[in-house]
Symmetry: C2
DNA sequence: CCTAGATACTTGACTCGGTCAACAAAGCCA
DNA sequence: TGGCTTTGTTGACCGAGTCAAGTATCTAGG
């Protein structure tokens, strides 16, 4: 009898697999007018979204034959899409990275895919969209290797009222923990106001973290120049620390900045903010300048960090 | 801001698509030691699970090039796996059907796939399995063309206590609607008892339909001989009629009987049971014999129906 | 320090899955 | 009846993907 239950479930999974195989066939048609095969596109995607991977790494994760992958990479290199840098740790390996031309070749592919999927789900009502994405996340969590515990918080874009919360919490917490005066809150308020006033959804973004229905963190990514994005107002509530929300915020900023076409991200912080500095360093930012200053009623050392994309 | 939500959801869908592409690659490996390509296996599957489809039909649903499909079918035919019967309605078309050898070639493929998927989900806890299948059903319902409204009832295998319910309801309803006496209930009780006593999960099955947590129907498929399965005790509560539960029961029986290796299904009913007769006829059963008899305190005409698989 | 075996690719050779265009036969429609 | 569509077939072709052998490099063990 148990058997029968498992069998029925097996049937559902197989039917779904057949169903999604068909869907993938449809999605693949988007590649028809591009010069890339499906596999090449998958490789391009990984190259664009990883940090200098090696060939073996890609082959393993995508399940590709090493010989086949080798040829694909050679073609990319000959087309000027790819650069290889011999690994210093192991001379057999090369670290792979897309060139400017590589990114340019990938961009339309990526956009087409986004638009296609966007059109697909745009036809669904808002609750249906949510059900869809939740169901997909469920499947991934259940069948994925990683089995990483579901994040106990959620990220979302900003909504009316959020900026006020950001100003309020920055003001309160920095006063309490570091003794900064109200001029800091004024600075935050100005940043927030500017963000709302000049908000460009294509190139700027705010993330709000929520836990148990309550806001517990924020970060802004704003346009500094065509080339540079600036990360601002990274904040995590003390009671939500340890969930790696800060790291997640920075990852999201990097990903978004790449997609938005920036070449680098900059940020300004102060040396007393140890936790934040650690996160920036781990995410690949480097300290480019320090500058002592007197602000917020304190003697501080401002730091300028940057990261190439 | 809305944009940002849609974008985030698009990302989830794309990530899931990439994830499932990888999964499919793994599942495809099951075909490596078979003589069939993935596409051939898909075609075989459809041939085994459809009623005499035409080539165009298959090509459309599987998204295949007609020329390519034509060749695949020719190969199958040359290998003795497939028979074509020129359509009487349209001489350009042929109706396709697997031969005995075709079924034999498909069986191990099908079994391997079932086992592979079974092993995959057997590693999950019972509630996780349920979440998985529900999530998959959700996705299919949301992205599927059909958009058929979700069935307002559920099917499940039998559990302790179900047989009693079946006996009870058969006795009560047939007495009320047709005036049959208690000897009918005795017959049902005997069938139920035998089913439980000799139950062979590989070749026999009971389905219980539930609606709003309440049992509303039943059907049994039992072994009559190695070649023949017998459909018994098809029952749907009056208040659940119109949901096509009866048709669904018969479909499930046919599907299961095929998988279990039967060559035909037989059943016995009475001419006064109009609704049931209609369902059997629509499902491809034919009346092979009628026999007047006096049973259950009534003069009745018994009917023997059969369907080849 | 040296050697045997593993690892990270690379290359040659090949197959066959899949595409495209042209065509025959039959049906549909006015 | 005749033009247009549909169903399926065939020839010609390409390139995605596989397999096996080879080279350079690394690692582990004596």
């Amino acid at each position: 009898m148990l058997d029968a239950v498992l069998e029925e479930r097996t049937r559902v999974v197989r039917r779904f697999t057949r169903f999604y195989t068909g869907r993938l066939g449809v999605l693949r048609e988007g590649l028809l007018d591009s010069p890339f095969s499906l596999t090449e596109a998958r490789v391009l995607y990984e190259l664009a979204n990883r940090e200098r991977p090696t060939a073996t790494e890609l082959g393993r994760d995508l399940g590709l034959d090493p010989g086949y992958l080798s040829r694909i990479l050679r073609r990319f290199e000959e087309g000027g899409l790819l650069e290889r840098a011999r690994s210093e740790a192991d001379a057999r390996q090369s670290h792979l990275a897309l060139t400017e031309a590589g990114r340019a070749a990938f961009a339309p592919l990526d956009r087409a895919s986004r638009e296609q999927v966007g059109a697909l789900i745009a036809g669904l009502s808002d609750p249906d969209q949510r059900r869809l994405t939740e169901a997909m996340a469920t499947i991934e969590a259940l069948l994925g290797e990683a089995r990483e515990p579901r994040a106990p918080y959620t990220l979302r874009p900003h909504r009316p009222g959020d900026m006020g919360w950001i100003v309020h919490r920055h003001g309160a917490l920095y006063a309490q923990e570091y003794g900064w005066d109200e001029t800091f809150e004024a600075l935050v308020a100005e940043i927030a106001a500017t963000f709302i006033k000049d908000f460009d959804p294509k190139r700027e973004r705010c993330w709000i973290a929520e836990k148990d229905g309550e806001i517990v963190g924020s970060v802004l990514l704003v346009r500094q120049s065509d080339e540079a994005a600036k990360l601002r107002l990274l904040y995590v509530e003390p009671k939500a620390r340890g969930l790696r929300i800060g790291r997640r915020f920075v990852e999201e900023c990097i990903r978004f900045a790449r997609e938005a076409g920036y070449r680098r991200i900059t940020l300004w912080t102060n040396d007393v903010l140890h936790a934040a500095r650690r996160i920036y360093a781990d995410a690949g930012f480097t300290l480019v300048k320090t500058e002592p200053h007197r602000s917020f009623g304190q003697d501080l050392v401002g730091e300028y960090w940057e990261r190439e994309l």
